[in-house]
């Protein structure tokens, strides 16, 4: 139990960037970076009220919603029955699913409105509106896992910030 908690914490290091100023005239910088598995650096808002680190996820709670950041590695893709690497599985499943396992995965998302597919800083983004909110899948050929960001209510501004400011370490 202690070992995997330590592993979870080590795998998700929150780096505080920017500085706080006590002057009431200066707006406090609430930005920080969440670094997953030492590879993906993703901007987050420091106004979260709680952080949950579990085996393969970090979940940040805010006043009225939570945002979940999960890394999906090859072992999990194998667990569901695909021999593909995460990058290939998600690219195929989210663009033109052919294998049954890819089709079933897509069905599991429920009704999907694909909002955007784009690339920035060597990262591919699949931004989906699903019944349970918004999902962003971050994929890169340079990394052997995929990041899934989920939230019931991600604003356009938050999505834009993730896309424009996330980077590979």
């Amino acid at each position: 139990m202690v070992k995997w908690i330590c592993q979870s914490v080590l795998m998700a290091i929150i780096v505080l960037s920017g500085c706080a100023d006590d002057s009431p005239k200066v707006k406090q910088n609430l930005d920080a970076d969440l670094i997953l598995n030492s590879k993906f650096s993703i901007p987050i808002d420091r106004s979260h009220t709680a952080i949950r680190a579990i085996r393969d996820s970090v979940i940040l709670s805010y006043d009225d919603h939570y945002i979940s950041y999960r890394w999906i590695a090859a072992e999990e893709i194998k667990f569901i029955g695909s021999e593909k690497m995460p990058y290939d599985f998600f690219t195929s499943a989210l663009t033109s699913p052919k294998q049954e396992v890819e089709i079933v995965f897509l069905e599991g998302l429920g009704k999907v409105n694909k909002r955007a597919v784009l690339s920035r800083n060597n990262i591919d983004y699949y931004i989906l509106d699903v019944e349970r909110g918004t999902k962003i899948y971050m994929l890169s050929k340079a990394v052997d896992f995929v990041v899934e960001i989920s939230s019931k209510s991600l604003t356009e501004k938050e999505i834009e910030k993730i896309v424009e400011s996330s980077k590979l370490k």
């Binding site: 996820s57 979940i59 069905e107 349970r132």
Partner: protein, 108 residues
Amino acid sequence: MDAISLDEKQEFREILQVIFGPQVRNWDINIRVLELFGTLIQTSDSCSRYMDLVPRPFVVGSVIKWVSKQAREYIVRHIKNSGKHYLVCLRVAGLSMKNDFYMASQGF
């Protein structure tokens, strides 16, 4: 609502462990988790071929009456009789829902 007994929680926990893995051992099985489970089993058309539809008395609209102990017992029996293929199929369909289940087990 009929309270979920410890035995029932354990039965659902065993089912969810096949779908999501050993971390389910640490989940609290509550009504929110069961409602999500209902969403999962009714979402995938491909998986449903491994299991017959939940009969009408246990469904209101498209929502399973999880508050009813009778409904819960029926679902557990039905799933166990459907065989492992069904649960393995749900494993795929549930890939995107794992953290939803975890947060539901935390009461969110």
